[in-house]
Amino acid sequence: MIEMQDVWKAYPDGTPALREVSIKIDRNEFVYVVGPSGAGKSTFMKLIYREEKPSKGQIFVNGFHLGKLKQRKIPFVRRNIGVIFQDFRLLPQLTVYENVSFAMEVIEAPKKQIKKRTMEVLDLVKLKHKADSLPSQLSGGEQQRTAIARAIVNNPSVIIADEPTGNLDPETSAGIMRLLEEINFRGTTIVMATHNRDIVNSMRKRVVAIEGGTIVRDEQRGEYGYEI
């Protein structure tokens, strides 16, 4: 599903970000990526959805060889990956419904299907009643649920979540985690970078720890392992 073989990444200005990263993530796994700030978590995530290209090594996602991928093929890799961020990244001038259906318009899905599927995922994230609201009228948790709806609307096989609960209070975060778990339960692989110790320790999953640009720990049902 996701496989990295001896991946190195240095940014154009020479800053090394990752070294010797090899990992295999199977279908339907739920993986926490933990580690100090600046350790390379974000770079690791960006490599998966091809926001960044590896300097060395090979990355396979859903059968695409990302290192060799042509520029104009990138959109097609991303259609199979849903991405969620700490800052939600919703389009402020579009309603909740439009923010979600937008991801389907982009892949030129039939109009009927867009409507049906958008309402379906809005129902899943419990935002059906807010379909016509603008992001500015929503709470942080609701905004993140909109972002999740957008991420899953095209039925991606992988969700990449970069600190999805970073801006949310514990109660709201728990709601988001339940939602992600449900999505995982329905068959989607989830890779989630987080600093949230409570979440990692209470909802036990595979934990990959990155320090100084390399994987230092990788255990099933692991712990957060860092003091805050």
């Binding site: 959805y49 926001e51 104009r72 959109p75 097609f76 890799v77 991303r78 259609r79 991405v83 990244r89 919703l90 389009l91 001038q93 937008f102 991801a103 318009e105 982009v106 892949i107 030129e108 109009k111 957008r150 095209n154």
Partner: protein, 305 residues
């Protein structure tokens, strides 16, 4: 591309103009102001050019014949001049007509200067007034007319006049006016393009986030570009329509107003019909092109992710 997608791009492009209200306003204003200045200059330059042409068209060749030339020969000379390429019109002015013209030009109070020269006392020659179709050829044509004299004795043509020296200077001035005018218009057009594309670039930079999100959910580059293309064209149309309307009605009013005052100086502005849709159409075209071009080059920068 599916028709449905094209319709979506058109809709999105138009909606974006409204959604980004103030930014659209800024871009359209930049287009409107630049094109207005450009349009004013264009009208100015066209009128100055027109005046220069009119001035040039006053150039004519005066061919004076010897007093002894018999009538049949006058006809044959007229015939020969008519055959010279570039000659558009020949008018025979007999010495009587010449005297009348002179009288007219002197005016009533000076008429007595030539009193007593009527009839057999007329000191003037018969002459031709020759017009050429291209004023710049006047010298060459004059030379060819003079050449009719060769081999005939006595030479039937006494003098060929076309304002030597004066005409060349006038052409130098009208030429300079044209070049300066064209230079100004081109310079202004470039300034306008720069100003407009810069404004549009600023409005799009503020939307790099939007573009990055589109990329994130798997939009292809053409898919992202299309609405911006439509939006740029819309801004161009809106921005150009304003100066076109203002210039159309404003210039029409100025032409009407000026008819009386300039008419006294024997000057005439080009009418709105003469300016026609060449100017207004090209302003609109330039507006649309610049709008599209500005948004395309700005978007391109953010597509390389």
């Amino acid at each position: 591309m599916k028709f449905r997608t094209l319709a979506r791009h058109l809709r999105e492009g138009c909606l974006n103009v409204i959604r980004n209200g103030w930014m659209s306003f800024a871009s359209a204003s930049a287009i409107a102001i630049s094109l207005f200045v450009l349009g004013v200059f264009l009208l100015l330059v066209m009128n100055v050019n027109n005046l220069a042409s009119e001035l040039e068209n006053t150039v004519e060749i005066r061919v004076h014949l010897d007093v002894v030339v018999p009538e049949e020969q006058i006809a044959s000379i007229q015939n020969e001049i008519g055959k010279i390429p570039g000659v558009s019109k020949i008018t025979f002015v007999s010495k009587e007509e010449g005297l009348d013209l002179l009288k007219e030009r002197l005016g009533e109070e000076n008429e007595d200067i030539i009193e007593g020269y009527e009839g057999d006392q007329n000191p003037l020659n018969d002459s031709f007034t020759v017009k050429v179709d291209e004023p710049r050829n006047v010298e060459a044509v004059a030379g060819q007319i003079e050449a009719i004299n060769s081999g005939q004795s006595p030479p039937p043509i006494v003098k060929v006049q076309y304002g030597e020296g004066y005409v060349e200077k006038m052409f130098a001035v009208t030429n300079m006016i044209r070049y300066v005018g064209i230079g100004l218009v081109i310079g202004l057009a470039f300034t306008a393009m720069f100003l407009i594309s810069n404004t549009i670039k600023l409005t799009i930079i503020s939307r790099r986030r939007e573009i990055s999100i589109m990329k994130l959910v798997g939009a292809t580059n053409p898919f992202i570009r299309w609405p911006f293309f439509v939006e740029g064209a819309m801004l161009g149309i809106i921005g150009a329509a304003i100066p076109v309307l203002v210039l159309y009605f404003g210039y029409g009013a100025i032409v009407e107003q000026s008819q009386v005052e300039l008419g006294l100086m024997m000057l005439q502005l080009l009418s709105v019909d003469q300016i026609g849709w060449k100017v207004f159409g090209s302003l609109l075209g330039i507006g649309v092109l610049i709008g599209i071009w500005g948004s395309m080059i700005s978007v391109r920068k953010f597509l390389k992710v």
